[in-house]
Every structure is written in C-alpha cells, then in structure tokens.
C-alpha cells in the first residue's frame, strides 16, 4: 500500500517563510497506529525521500488525537524570493505520496 492510499489528507504548506511542513492525516485509526508502531515514517524515510540531510528536518511528530503525523523541514530558499519555486509551499508533498508502506 502506498501512503497516498492510506492517508486521508496528505499536504504541504509553509509554516512561516523559512519552513515547509508536511501533514499526513489518517481516517483509519488502526492504520495510523500501525504506521506509528512500526515507525514507518521517520527521519530516515524523509531524508531519503527528499534527498536532504536529517538535520534539515526540524520536527517529526505523531499526534494521536488528530491521527496525524507532522514533518517540518527547513527551506533551502525562503518563500517568495529568488530562486524560490513554490511561494506557499503547497506542492512539495508528492514524494511522500509515493512512499510504499509494508502493511
């Protein structure tokens, strides 16, 4: 199963002009718990998917009441200046969608 099939919401957005934040929200509590228990999304996964060093990942948090995972990355270029490519950071989630989950 790929992450885009498992998640209900999978999105990216700026969290302030210098960070990009990725949200993965589940509908199925059981699926969320399995992803969390098995640690299927961790710093190593993100670092490989986005080809960035782990120290550019500033947060990676599971939040049970929202059945969600938040990953925050330091932006290479701040929002809306040269040579930024995505002012709102709204289209940086696609690599995460393709993540294969061994479930």
């Amino acid at each position: 199963m790929r992450l885009y099939e498992a998640a209900k919401v999978l999105r990216s957005k700026n969290s302030g002009p210098f960070e990009l934040t990725l949200d993965v929200l589940f509908e199925d509590a059981d699926l969320y718990r399995r992803v969390k228990t098995l640690g299927l999304i961790d710093r190593k996964t993100i670092s490989e998917l986005y080809q960035i060093p782990e120290d550019r990942i500033t947060q990676l948090v599971y939040f049970d009441p929202a059945l969600g995972i938040k990953i925050t990355l330091a932006r290479k270029v701040s929002s809306g200046t040269f040579p930024d490519r995505d002012v709102y950071g709204a289209q940086q989630h696609a690599p995460l969608m393709a993540l294969e989950l061994p479930l």
Partner: protein
C-alpha cells in the same frame, strides 16, 4: 448576554475572501459578543510587506467589511480586524482605515469609536536589540541579519499579543484595526478581557482565524462560531453543508504550524497535547484541556522584508524530443554563453534560473522523479541589480536559447515556442524576508501604540 459564555463570530479566514451572507446571518442570530476577522499572512511571500501592497482587492475588502460593519454596528458589538491589509504595516492599516471611514460615511453612522493599533518596529530598535543580544533568528534557515540586510529592509512589523487589543477594548473602542497581530490574538483578546481562560481563548482563536477551515468540508470562505465557556469551548460551522468532527478540529492545529500541539505566541506557549475533542451531535465540537504557559521573557516575532533584486522573465515551451531529453545541459551551455558575452558585467550583479515544468519545475533539487514529460514548460528568469540589467541579460538569454545550436540538433529554425509577444516580462522589484526574528519586549504594550478617533459621517 450570558455571562458564562463568550461567543465570537468569524466570518472568513481572510478579510476580502468573501463568505455566504446566509451563514453570517445565522451567526448573528446566535447573538455573538464580537465579530473578529483575520486579514493578514506571510503565506503569499514577502512582496506585500516589502512593497506595501494588499493581498485582496480594495473592492473585495470593502464588500466583506460592509456586511460585517453593518451587522456589528446594529448589534452594538465590537468588531476586530487582525493584521490589517495583508501584512499589518502602517501603509496596510491606513488602507484598511480608509475603507472603514468610507463605509461609515456612506451609511451616515455617528459616534463610532475606532481604535488603530500600530505594529511597525523602527529599524534602529531592531539594531539596538540585536547588538544587545536580545533578538535572535527564528529557526535554522533564517540568515543572520547583517547591517546590509537591515539597511535594504523596507518595513518591519511585530506580531502583537492580546494585551494591546484588550487595552483598546477597555477604552471603549467599537472597531479595532490591528496592525500585524499573532493570528489568534484579536480573537483571544475580547474573551480574555471578560475573564475567560487564556489557553482556551487562544486555542479557539487559532481555530477561528481560519473560519470554517476546521470544519468538514473545510474552507476559509465560510463562517464559524466559537463559544467560550468556563472550562471548554465549542466551535460550530454556520452552514448546513459543513460539520465539525473531532478529527477535523484536532487536525486543524496542524495547519501551517511547525508542531501539531505546541504553539508559540507572543509571551506564551500553548500546549494542546492533552486536549480532548468531543462531537456534540449537532455538527459542533467541544474542546477541553488547552493549556497556556507564559514564557519567562516576553518575546515578539518580527517580520521584515527587504528589496533583493529586479526580475525579468520569459515563459516558453519546448516540444522537440531531442531538446527535451537534454534540456538542463543545453540551459547550462546557454547561460555560459550569455555570461561570456557579458564578461564586462560583474558576475554577481545578476542571477539566472531555469524552471523546467514537466521535469522538475515545482520541486527543483527536491524532485525524486527525473523522467521528463513529452513537452516542457520552460520559465527562465534573470534577477539583477537593476531592472535595466535584468531586461538586458534576459533578452540575450532568450535570443541565445532560441537559436542555440546544441549538438545533434535537427530543428535549426528555433528551440522555443513563446506563447506571447513580446516574450520578455519586466517584473519589477523582488523582495525577500530579511527579518524573521524573536525580539525581547520589556512589556507587551510598548511596541504597539494605540490611536483613537471618532469616525463620523
């Protein structure tokens, strides 16, 4: 008014985005104690703050305000606007105040007490604060604020907490136009003033500042009602088409924040990790357990934008499969030829970027999939010290690219399909966020002076 409750009507997530009047009227029928709307964000980049422009049109802003003011004045409840005009600097606040005055005049209202809370921070204050070690960048990606960057900065604002807004309410303001504010502050202020818990008030503000975005289906273009109680608050959409669910409300704190349950604001940290979200069966959700902790030092977040360059860009298409397959290589060669031609211009005076849509235009280096589509949208841009230089270099870049004879080329008549004539678009100034810092503030009020006026027809 029920003293045990405090109700806030949030018309939309951004003043000027619009909202259904039927939802707004439904909200007014619940007899709210205040109408509060957010009007600013850093989301759209540094240009608004740097250039002093708005994010919505004047007409759209006026259309929303007309409805809000008409109902608010009639009901005699305070109306609060946060981060006026898109970025909350003086020019943005004045732009909003002008619209408010116009509406008051047109309706012939009298005795409307308007408060304006400024949020501009002088450069010298930031300079002093930096030198004293009382101002630090917010996060690892924020570059150091050098004297050159500060010099190039056109405007700096700070996000206010609830404190100056409470003061304006105490002074009897009917309408408050806030300069840059921490988004939840204008929502939290009127409730905190009435003695409600600050943790719950800020958490409710965090949800209401986006209006119905925390509902399902979510949108910033519809209204939401928040009801604050002794030890909980309830959020409720005002259109039959939406419902709040425990997950939709819990998940909202994810939105645009770096952490899902620890939210840092002016002078405080909001802890939401132990919150409960309970569906009440009527589309509303009751939230408990939001906890606010005051920080030992009161810090305010500064935002500043500097002029970075002037830009000229070209939009073109590439359909030739030979060129598509080696586009990046050809672009490097084209740039090298242009740089050689302008050998007399200092290399740092201009920068060139190619955005290859259909290959990695959206993600650049972060793109893991490197197989190109059958055609590419190519946007190339030159960012230079002056507009003239940007135009000059971009024109040469365009003609060089158009006719570049790469190895193995068969289409010797031209490499690019331009959708428009002329092809080159002089864009004007490009800004960058130069200040994104936390500054120690001796008290929550001193940086946010308040001005009162009685607006009359």
């Amino acid at each position: 008014m029920n003293e045990d409750e405090f109700k806030i009507l949030a018309p939309c997530g951004m003043l000027g985005y619009g909202f259904p009047e039927s939802s707004f009227e439904e909200g007014m029928a619940r007899r709210p104690d205040a109408i509060v709307v957010d009007a600013g964000s850093t989301d759209a980049g540094p240009h608004k703050l740097g250039a002093g422009t708005a994010i919505v049109s004047r007409q759209a802003c006026k259309k929303d305000l007309e409805i809000i003011l008409t109902h608010g004045v009639q009901a005699g409840i305070p109306i609060l606007i946060g981060s006026a005009g898109g970025s909350g600097a003086r020019v943005h606040v004045e732009w909003t105040r002008d619209i408010v005055r116009e509406i008051v005049r047109e309706h012939g209202w009298t005795g409307v007490k308007l408060a304006v809370i400024w949020a501009d921070i002088p450069k010298e204050a930031v300079e002093k604060s930096l030198a004293a070690g009382r101002c630090e960048p917010l996060g690892i990606a924020v570059p150091a604020l050098t004297p050159e960057r500060l010099e190039a900065t056109t405007r700096i604002v700070a996000q206010m907490g609830h404190e100056p807004i409470v003061q304006a309410l105490e002074a009897g303001a009917d309408m408050i136009i806030c300069g840059r504010a921490y988004d939840p502050s204008p929502f939290a202020a009127p409730a905190i003033r009435r003695g409600f818990d600050a943790g719950l008030a800020y958490h409710m503000g965090k949800i209401l500042e986006c209006a119905a975005l925390a509902a399902a289906p979510g949108t910033t273009k519809d209204c939401m009602l928040g009801t604050l109680r002794g030890d909980s608050f309830v959020v409720q959409p005002l259109s039959a088409a939406r419902r709040c669910t425990s997950v939709s409300v819990a998940a909202h704190t994810f939105y645009e924040k770096d952490h899902p349950y620890i939210l840092r604001g002016p002078g405080h940290v909001l802890h939401l990790g132990d919150c409960t979200f309970e569906e009440r069966g009527d589309g509303s959700v009751e939230v408990r357990g939001s906890r606010l902790e005051r920080t030992p030092t009161y810090k305010i977040k500064l935002e500043g934008a500097m002029h970075a360059a002037y830009r000229t860009f070209v939009v073109a298409g590439v359909r030739d499969p030979l060129l598509v397959s080696r586009i990046e290589e050809v672009e490097r060669l084209v740039e090298a030829q242009v740089r050689e031609y302008y050998g007399d211009v200092p290399a740092d005076d201009y920068r060139i970027q190619f955005l290859n849509y259909g290959l990695n235009g959206v993600m650049g280096d972060l793109e893991p999939n490197r197989s190109p589509a059958h055609e590419l949208g190519v946007v190339f841009e030159v960012a230079a010290k002056t507009q003239e230089l940007a135009n000059t270099v971009c024109a040469t870049l365009r003609s060089t690219f158009l006719h570049y004879g790469y190895e193995g080329r068969k289409s010797t008549a031209g490499n690019l399909a331009f959708p428009f004539a002329p092809s080159d678009v002089p864009f004007g100034p490009v800004y960058a966020f130069s200040v994104y810092h936390l500054m120690e503030a001796a008290d929550p009020l001193s940086w946010f002076p308040i001005e009162y006026e009685e607006v009359r027809a």
